[in-house]
Amino acid sequence: MSERKVKRLLDTPPLDEEAEERVWETVRAAFAEREPLERPPQRFRLVLALSALAAAVAAAAFSPPGRAVVNAVRRTIGIEHAQPALFSLPAPGRLLVAGGSGAWVVAADGSKRRLGDYPQASWSPHGLYVVAAAPNELAAITPAGAVHWTLARPQIRFPRWGGTRSDTRIAYLTTSRLHVLAGDGTGDTDAGGLPAAARVAPAWQPTTADRHVLAYVTTRGRVIVVDTDRGSVRWISAGYAGAHALAWSHDGTQLALAAKTKVVLFDARTGRATTIRVEGVRALAFSTDGRLALLRHRVLLLRVGGRLLTLFAPPGAIAGLAWSPNGRWLLTELPAADEWVFLQTRGGHRILAVSHITAQFGAFPSLSGWAS
């Protein structure tokens, strides 16, 4: 066989442009996470500096003896307003948290109101109500604590509220069954014809139209987007191993899925998937202006215009994500340090830490949303 013929044959395999883009995203993210030996550009240096500063604070706070020097360290490295308690939120809005000590609403001035023994909760679409779940009860409550209705159901988890100001729906899971009911607590329906749901919070598509579209993950790792009014399935994705979190963009055009080895962005209309190769993303959330925060075990990444930036990389595990309603601040948690950390992502690069979270809530809570 001639060498020429072999060469011609070896040029046959087509190049995969989508693979090239996926790999480039991953390589770029890895490059952003590395610390170059030589001086980085100004902007990148700032991000690294912020991560390093926060890492130093968190490391000091992990040990009780170290806590005594935390404030001094914070002053030295530039973290402003290091607070021993939550005196105020850095942006307007109200924060909802829930956990072992129940559900709480935190106002912008730092005042807190306990809503009851509900370990899970989420806001209604416009922040007028909270839907809260105890193991065998679903309840609609005002932020002032007035209970509007309750519904007894077994093993409720992941209550989520969606819809418009005039017509809302609530979705929740019981074991692997998906349920949908009206916002007034009536018409509870088991979506019996649909595939069983995985232990992943369902997500309502944000919309101004009078329709109710829900995304959920099946036990086989597929994403199903269903029009709950018509009972019709809009699209079903391929299966993804380790699928465990969903988030819609605020304009409702994109749906993000965190899976074991990747994040998948779906076009809301067609279901067409674009993959971002990032391993181990445990939570994700869109800001109001379309930036996507990705939470890994010890790294908080921000996807801006197709680029992944490292926003925060403390030495300990981080948990939870909540964007402020104005999209300027991102709140995350350092459970081992018993701290919350507010990261300014627009209009400045401040980091505000709040200590003694457990003492303020009775148990370290999970972030459930920051409403306007």
Binding site: P13, R34, A241, R277
Partner: protein, 199 residues
């Protein structure tokens, strides 16, 4: 030696693989490496884009699986990023990357041969339909599948990437005679299979 047609169509890609250009990196590539070492994402992207086509194609020809080829090419670039600060700018980037790609490809192919393949029910569905290979591509895949990964690697290094047998011996840390015998045996086997396929 005439370059393969696809390389001739992309002149900017040729400099990194032509034997005469491999002794030293071209200035543009050196500048990209230097700037990437200083933190320039744009420089890294130039480096990535210029080396991606052959890194991916090399992996694909060695392992015969598009998904695995993507993973191998990705891991190779990630290894390059991790080692970027230690990289000697006086040396060309291509051979270093190709060595990683080929060795990882051989390792992957050996590992696959040892483990049981999943049943159809266990395999995840692709996120998008995979491209149907051409008849030409199927014949090549069948022919290459007849070879062991070590033979495929030598063939690809020689006839896709244009390395000399001496350079291949250095890259794979093999005796030159072994490289020559693998080339000969690989070509013979390819010829036999492709004749059976009617090529």
């Amino acid at each position: 030696m005439r370059p393969p047609a696809v390389l001739a169509a992309v002149p900017s890609l040729l400099s990194a693989v032509r034997p005469e250009a491999r002794a030293e990196p071209d200035r543009r590539e050196s500048a990209w490496i230097r700037d990437a070492q200083r933190g320039s994402t744009a420089a890294l992207e130039h480096l990535f884009r210029s080396h991606w086509p052959r890194a991916y194609r090399t992996a694909l020809l060695v392992v015969g699986d598009a998904g695995a080829a993507e993973d191998i090419a990705q891991e190779s670039f990630l290894a390059a990023v991790r080692a970027l600060d230690r990289f000697d700018r006086r040396r060309p980037f291509g051979p270093w990357l190709h060595r990683i790609v080929v060795n990882r490809g051989i390792d992957w192919a050996r590992a696959r041969a040892l483990r049981r393949e999943l049943g159809a029910d266990d395999a995840p569905e692709p996120a998008a339909p995979e491209r149907e290979p051409s008849a030409h591509g199927r014949a090549l895949a069948a022919a290459l599948a007849e070879l062991g990964p070590e033979h495929r690697a030598v063939i690809v290094l020689r006839y896709l990437l244009d390395y000399t047998p001496g350079e291949i011996a250095e890259l794979l840390e093999l005796p030159r005679g072994t490289v020559n015998s693998r080339l000969r045996r690989g070509l013979d086997r390819l010829e036999a299979v492709l004749q059976d396929e009617g090529e």
